[in-house]
């Protein structure tokens, strides 16, 4: 009994306390609304910081990809491609310059061959001259058997024979002496050309080797740079993924804000039902409502506070970590750019390649002079042979006339048979010389035709070579300028990224000062949590329970982390039902 009265006396103070607490709770609701709005603004700052880091990372990924492509030999965007092509074109030019040497060698060989053929033909003439001289001797011997008159005639014939023989011999000797002189001159030209070409060839081959080595050196430098870019890009993509806790924190803030509003509504509801629940006769149902509200919302508040504290800490940690890593990567990219600038920023790769084949201009220029000299030699040979042929033709006419006269004189003699035969032989020699002359003319014509054709082709080739070499020089400077511009451009872009990253770093350093919600979570929410706990405890007592029934405890704890509007409502109803159906309620008047 005493206990009943004691409990009744204890219970009489609780309703008013409950009402007082519920009123206090209602005043906290504004605080909860405002907290949500203020944290909204603070989280906007956080979101903007995240956004700027993401933007920086994205830009750095893009820049790294672009840089990697500009260095990658397999990529269409390779900035060094044109420079390498110049090097390869230089090799092609040197290779095709061998064609100049080849064409000139052919011309030398043709002239050699012509002179050699002329000498062969000369030996035919010489052979004919031997026959001619023996015919003259024959005439002298046979005519000695004739009478004085016939002897006089044939003495003239023999004399003419000697005169013509001397003339032909002189023509042959002077002509072929001239040819020998021409041949000697051609040999001098050939030796000078060989010295020039072979001397240049060693230089050119050395320079080609330099071009190949330089190309290899550049490729050796670029290959690890490409790998570095790929690695940097992968690292950045990993950093980007690691930002997800911050995104989750931002989402949780929104969840918490909604929950706080909901809790604020619940606090107002608590105040609304507390007073009628405790006026006059405390009503079990209303007290059960109060208990259910304070239980569920108390746990909601605990959960919200814990969630925000935990994810806020993760967000700060992640954002600082992401920024530090992003900064380190940006520095790495900057170091890579510096390497590229140091190696290639002011170099003239394409121009150096073009310069390496400077020797070619000497070869083509010299070959031009050789072509002219050979053309002059052709003309001299033509002149010599033409003069020679003219002389020989003229002498053959004389011989034919002499042969005719001798034939006539011999036919008048009774014993002139031998002399007639000699005269016929003389005609044969004359015809043989004519044929040999024609052979010489024909050989000359063929050789000149081939020489002209070879020379034209060679001159055309040299013109193409000169044109290509000139184009190569002109484009090489432009290509180097473009490469340097590209490297400078990528450096500027990387520096801009570094600056952006530095700005982010200083913004993020200020974040903890600018975001006050971690401290406010404790200072503002602790009294509200305490109030709700008190309301919960008092309302539990007023429904006649000293402690929370186990099934209620279990339900409340089970759903702590998975509160949605629906589950919260269901939990509220469940708690209400469990408490209101529990026994032990005492009604007070």
């Amino acid at each position: 009994m005493k206990n009943v009265f004691k409990s009744i006396g204890f219970a009489r103070g609780l309703p008013s306390k409950l009402v007082e607490l519920s009123q206090q709770a209602s005043r906290y609701s504004d605080q909860l609304y405002q907290f949500g709005q203020v944290t909204d603004k603070e989280f906007v700052i956080l979101a903007e910081s995240v956004s700027s880091i993401q933007t920086c990372i994205q830009n750095t990924i893009g820049q790294t990809q672009k840089l990697g492509e500009s260095l990658d030999g397999c990529s269409e965007e390779n900035a060094f491609r044109s420079a390498f092509e110049i090097g390869k074109r230089a090799i092609e030019l040197v290779h095709s310059s061998s064609g100049v040497e080849f064409a000139l060698s052919n011309q030398f060989e043709l002239i050699d061959s012509l002179v050699s053929e002329c000498e062969t033909i000369k030996s035919e003439f010489d052979h004919n001259q031997v026959i001619f001289r023996s015919l003259a001797t024959g005439f002298a011997i046979e005519s000695a058997r004739c009478d004085e008159e016939a002897q006089a005639v044939f003495r003239t014939v023999v004399s003419d024979f000697h005169r013509i023989d001397e003339s032909i011999a002189k023509t042959l000797d002077s002509g072929f002496s001239e040819l020998q002189a021409v041949l000697k001159e051609m040999d001098d030209i050939r030796r000078a050309w060989d010295a020039e070409f072979n001397g240049s060839e060693n230089t050119v081959e050395r320079q080609l080797e330099s071009i190949r080595e330089e190309i290899h050196r550049i490729e050796t430098i670029l290959t690890p740079c490409v790998a570095d870019c790929s690695d940097i890009k992968n690292t950045l993509e990993e950093i980007e993924l690691a930002i997800s806790p911050i995104i989750i924190c931002l989402q949780n803030q929104d969840i918490v804000r909604q929950k706080l509003e909901h809790i604020a509504n619940a606090l107002n509801e608590i105040e609304r039902i507390a007073s009628p629940a405790c006026k006059g006769k405390p009503r079990k149902q209303r007290l059960s409502e109060l208990f259910a509200h304070s239980s569920v919302q108390g746990r909601q508040l605990d959960y919200a506070v814990d969630l925000l504290a935990e994810t806020g800490e993760q967000a700060f940690s992640s954002i600082a970590d992401a920024q530090a890593k992003s900064d380190a990567v940006a520095q790495r990219l900057g170091a890579l750019q510096d390497t590229l600038f140091h190696q290639f920023g002011t170099s003239s790769i394409a121009f150096a390649f073009g310069q390496q084949i400077e020797e070619l201009s000497r070869i083509t220029e010299f070959s031009g002079r050789v072509h002219q000299q050979l053309a002059q030699i052709d003309q001299r040979i033509v002149k010599v042979v033409q003069v020679y042929n003219r002389e020989i033709s003229s002498r053959q006419q004389d011989i034919r006339l002499i042969a005719l006269n001798a034939q006539v004189a011999a036919s008048r003699l009774e014993e002139g048979g031998a002399l007639e035969r000699l005269a016929q032989e003389t005609s044969v020699v004359s015809e043989a010389n004519q044929r040999t002359s024609k052979k010489l003319s024909s050989a000359l014509e063929n050789a000149l035709e081939q020489l002209r054709s070879t020379r034209e082709s060679s001159v055309a080739h040299v013109e193409v070579l000169n044109k290509d070499r000139q184009e190569l020089f002109e484009s090489s400077q432009d290509i180097d300028a473009r490469l340097q511009h590209h490297i400078s451009g990528t450096i500027s872009e990387t520096r801009a990224l570094l600056d952006a990253s530095n700005r982010n770093a200083s913004t993020i350093q200020d974040l903890p000062q600018r975001l006050s919600f971690p401290q406010r979570l404790q200072t503002e929410f602790t009294p509200i949590r305490e109030t709700l706990r008190e309301i919960n405890a008092i309302s539990l007592k007023l429904v006649g329970k000293r402690e929370l029934p186990q099934e209620v405890q279990a339900s409340l704890n089970e759903h702590r982390e998975r509160y949605t509007m629906q589950t919260e409502r269901a939990l509220h109803d469940q708690t209400f039902a469990q408490i209101s159906n529990a026994s032990g309620f005492t009604s007070f008047n």
Binding site: G99, I215, S457, V464
Partner: protein, 121 residues
Amino acid sequence: MKKVLVVDDFASVRIYHSNLIRHMGYVAIEAADGDAASKILSSTDIDLVLLDLYMPNKDGRSVIETLGQGSRRKPPVIVITSESERFGSNQLSTLPVQSVISKPVRPAALKEAIMLAIGNN
């Protein structure tokens, strides 16, 4: 007369090779890129191909791959390239061709390679 197809995108190289081939007594046919070479190979019986590797519009490797397609016979190929085997470029020695020569190559050496491929004319 045997026909030799000269494939190179560099005009002066084509002139050099063609002059040499004509001097050897063969017929020289020129193509400035892989596409032109393939067209000629599909319409004409060619006895030897002198082929550059790196060209625009279908490179030398693509030409090698399409050789012998259709009813045309597959001629021997001599690759003459500005790449250097010394620097390990693109595994030149593994190409399915008669021979691979790095530029620059002297006329005598080129003549020898051609004669080995298709003999005297």
